[in-house]
Each structure stands twice: as structure tokens, then as C-alpha cells.
Amino acid sequence: MATHPSVETKYMEERRELFHGIRNLERRSFLKVSAAALGASAGLAYPHSFTPVSVAQGAEDTGSDQAFRFAYVSDSHLYEKDVNDRFVRGLLRAVDDVNNLDPQPDFVFYGGDLAQLGQEKELELGAQILKNLKAPLRIMVGEHDWYLDMGQKWQELFGDPTYSFDHKGVHFVVLNSVVEADFWTERNMTPMERMMTVAGLDNSLQSPFTVGQTQRKWLQDDLEKLSDDARLIILSHSPLYKLYKPWNFWTDDAEEVQAILNRFKNVVVIHGHTHQLLTNRIGNIHFHGVLSTAWPWPYAPEGMPELTIEMSRPDPFNPNDGCGDGEVHVHPDGLVDKIYNLWNRNPVSVTAAYTASGGSDSVPPKPNRPSY
């Protein structure tokens, strides 16, 4: 029996081809390709054949204040795969999720804590898995990546943990916000003892996280050239505010960092570490947490920001519940819609309208199971 592709198959093939072409497109050749695609589709008799109508918007998006989106994956806490396969499967799933986004995001942001104990094999495994991402990777360091060899292996694989870049008119800054004062020398700790101490969320022997004076100076210099209405997104591992010190949901020099950001009209901070839906706003600064691919954390017993709509307590019987990945949709005004792609639940959007209105508009769904 002869095989003919179905209408649906034809449609999907065309669509895939077109988006593939557009993703690799330079601005100048955009019209050429879209015209070709139009021509190709016009020649087909299928009534529902794909035509790149919505893509025309892309042509307008080349200015300095355009909208775009990027994806995030964070806090995978990898052990070597023969020690613990569950966390490895978590990261693989997130990479699949992101690779299946269509169209692809502009880039993928990794939010830190790729490894559980900062060991070479853990970091190498993580780097290897992240290489499967189709979109370009931007990566940040977390405390679990750092405190075994003080960042040596991580930097060897991924470069400097503090950097900035510009994308479609938005200035992105990536910080290492997990700088801890030396608590280990006095206690004669081995590197692994130091790592194990930092790896324990409720371990009080460690010091609070900071950005530190060196990076604050660097940040000040880096932002100097920007005007007050520049679009600015800061990526940090710890929340750049003070939530709950016993778990280092905390940045000890948060006020100093916020002071540097005060002059801007809108600033968005996206942070890892907290493994949960977490929203805050301090003046002009809008803060969003991200999900982990390994496990969710409980909410802090005190000090929760008013804007946070907590996620329902995760189901312990489903190892994926409360975990996930997500997307960030950046608006022309620099604010963002934060999409939490929860693996076992409906996705939750915390929109720019919600944070901008101080929590009165576009309120995300409320939880039904409390966090204890």
C-alpha cells in the first residue's frame, strides 16, 4: 500500500521547516525566506496548510524594545548517575521539555546547583547533558557547584561566574551570589566537609550568602553606561533580598545590591536556590524564583513576601510533583511573565501585570494544600 503523508503530517513538516529556517535567520534575509515559505504554501492545495502569518510579527521585533522569551532549567543537584539516577532523569526531562518548545526560546538560562557536591564527575555529567540543548545556554553558579574546589572545575567548564550580555535590547547580568565568608579554616574542615556543610540547607555552621564588595563594584561599573529606563534583568542564585536566614533564602548584602539597582525604572531579578513558586517586589525590583528539576523545598516558616502565591504542598508519592522548568517572556517595558512549567500540575504564570499592579490584577491560582 502506497503511503501518503496525512494533511496533519504535511502541516507539521512545513511548520517545522519554516521555524527551523526562521530560527537561523539573519534579519536581512527574513523577507526572502518568509516569501519563499508563503510561495511554497500557496502552491499547496491543503486548505489548512500552514502559512507564516503570526511570524510576520517577528519582522517588527528587531527594534531595541522588542518582546522575546527564554527558557530556564535550574537546581538539578546531580550526583554521578550510578549514585543517583533520579536527579539525572530530572535534568534530562527538563532538557527534553526545552528542546520541544516550538518555536525555540532565544536561549536557555541554567540557574545554578548543577551538581550536588561540586564533584568533577557531577559537573561533567551536567555539562554533557546541557550540551543537548538546541538553544544557546547561559549558566550561573550555585553553592553546590562551588564549595568543594572553590569553583575551579565549574569555571573550567563554564568560564567566569560573573558576566553580563545584551540580548534584544535587554541588559542581562549574571552574578555569583553565593559568596560565603570563610567558616571552614577555623574549624579545620576538609574540602568535602566544607562542601557538605554548605550543601545542608539547614546547616547553621555556614555563613550567609553575599554578592560581596568586589562584585558589587563590578556591577556598579557594568551598569554605569545604562540609562535609567534601560531594560535590565539580573540573574542570581540566591534571592537578592532577605527572606529566611536559617536556610540561606537570603543575601546578606541585599540592600547594597538593591541600592545599585534603585535608579532604574524597572528591574527584574530571577533567582534559583528556593525550588518553588516565589514572587516578590521591592520598589522597582521584581523578583521571581524558579523550579528545581530535583526536589521542591518547603516554604520558609516566616517572612514570606506578600506577592507570593505559594504552590500547594507537593505530593511526596510523586517524585516529580513540585519540580519542573519554565519560561520567561520579556515584555517591551522590561517586565516579564514568569511561567512555571510544573511537571505534575497545570503550568502557573506569574505575569508582569500581577507584579506591576502590586498583586491586584492577573492573580495566579491559589493553593489548596498548605505548606507546613
Partner: protein, 240 residues
């Protein structure tokens, strides 16, 4: 040094050694100033071997009947006892494990029972005639039990995890364990469970270890730690 935290057998050994030196002191040893030669007082233990006393030292057999300790002559009992204690602590770095566990994974102190020392009705009765010493003992022992639970809670090795997972990785400070809500109908299991049933479910599944003996010391310690962390919370059995 924290005397209350040193385990029973070790404490007996130290008391025994102290008594020996007081005896030596009372028997007429020379006694230079209290603080003199503390360094020299550092006794050199040599397990199972006889040592030879020199002109400046004296051999003392420890209570265990095996170790001989060589110490400088002419020290007061206190200096000698301190030196022995120092030595014992060097040989037992884990001796302060309760204090260390508390420092590492801060947990709530047991209830304050000082009101029991008030009032006169308890006097003259066996039950109810409490002293400050009783209160100290209760608090110390209860806290030690909780500390043991904290130690296991935070250790994948103690739990026997095959995948290097410990309880604190999802439950820092035992958060989200809600022991006050048991017994309750656990929907996922289709039956009413106690806290220990859920602990063992976690041990077998996310932690991936052999289940603990429900009446064994590890389960009892884990329950103690989890309950202690909810001090002051209203009991609400059946709550979801």
C-alpha cells in the same frame, strides 16, 4: 568542657582517675603552685604497656586496669584532673556530639519546667519533690534523644540510602513533616497511618533504603526529632 555531655563509662573513668590523684595528693606529694607546669602535667598514655617512672614523673594505672598514665610529680589534684580531662577529650573528639549537632542543625529546646520547683505541696513526697538537678537531667536526656534523631535525619548513610538522599534534602529543619496531623487517612496508601508509617514510606521510597524497625532506636530517634521541631504546634489529627 561540658561535663554533662560526656558519656557514662567515660565519666566513671575520669572520676576514678581524679580520685586516684586526690589520694596521691593527700598522701603527701609535693604540691607546687596550682598553675605550675600544666604542660608537664599532660599525661602520656600508653595503652597496654608498662611505663617506667623517672625522677620527675609517677606512673598511675587507670581504672580500666590496662592503661598506665605517666604524670609529673607534685601536681595538685585539680591540675591533674584538668590535664586528664584534656587528654580524654583529645582521644574522644566525638564526645561533644550533642553540642555539635545542636550548633549544626539548630533545634528547639525542651519545655521549661522551672514552675515545678514552685509551691510546697511536692515537699515530702516521692513523686513531685523535684530539684533543679532533676530538671537539668530531664532536659539533657530529652535533648540528647532529639539530637540523635537530628543526626540520623541529616545523614543518608545513617538511613541506609542507596542514592545518597537524606530527610533534610526535602525537609530542612523537619519542615513539611507535620507530625501533628497524624493519625490520618493517607489517601495515597488507602489507610490510616501514623507518623512512623510515613517515615518508613519515605525511607523506602525517596530515600531508597531498607525500612526501619518501627520500634528500633533509629525510628524512635527520628520521631523524637520531628516531634521536637513542632514544639508549640496544635495537635490536629486527621488534618490534610
Amino acid at each position: 568542657m561540658n561535663w554533662t555531655l560526656i558519656r557514662g563509662s567515660a565519666r566513671r573513668a575520669i572520676v576514678c582517675a581524679m580520685l586516684l590523684f586526690w589520694a596521691a595528693f593527700l598522701a603527701g606529694c609535693k604540691h607546687p603552685s596550682e598553675t605550675a607546669e600544666l604542660d608537664a602535667a599532660d599525661p602520656q598514655s600508653d595503652a597496654g604497656k608498662e611505663t617506667v617512672a623517672t625522677a620527675d614523673t609517677v606512673d598511675v594505672k587507670s581504672c580500666d586496669g590496662e592503661n598506665t598514665v605517666q604524670v609529673a610529680k607534685g601536681l595538685t589534684g585539680q591540675a591533674m584532673a584538668d590535664a586528664l580531662m584534656d587528654q580524654w577529650q583529645r582521644n574522644h573528639p566525638e564526645a561533644n556530639w550533642v553540642t555539635e549537632e545542636k550548633e549544626k542543625h539548630v533545634f528547639l529546646p525542651p519545655a521549661d519546667n522551672s514552675a515545678l520547683l514552685q509551691g510546697d505541696q511536692g515537699k515530702g513526697h516521692v513523686y513531685g519533690n523535684f530539684t533543679e538537678r532533676d530538671l537539668i537531667t530531664w532536659a539533657r536526656e530529652a535533648e540528647k534523644f532529639v539530637a540523635e534523631g537530628s543526626r540520623i535525619f541529616h545523614s543518608g548513610d545513617e538511613l541506609g540510602s542507596q542514592i545518597a538522599v537524606s530527610c533534610d534534602m526535602c525537609h530542612p529543619h523537619a519542615a513539611n513533616t507535620h507530625p501533628e496531623t497524624y493519625p490520618k487517612y493517607q489517601v495515597q496508601l488507602g489507610r490510616v497511618v501514623l507518623l512512623r508509617d510515613m517515615i518508613n514510606w519515605c525511607v523506602e521510597n525517596p530515600v531508597r533504603a531498607e525500612p526501619l524497625d518501627p520500634n528500633g532506636p533509629k525510628m524512635r530517634a527520628l520521631e523524637a526529632y520531628i516531634m521536637a521541631q513542632r514544639k508549640g504546634t496544635v495537635m490536629e489529627y486527621g488534618k490534610h
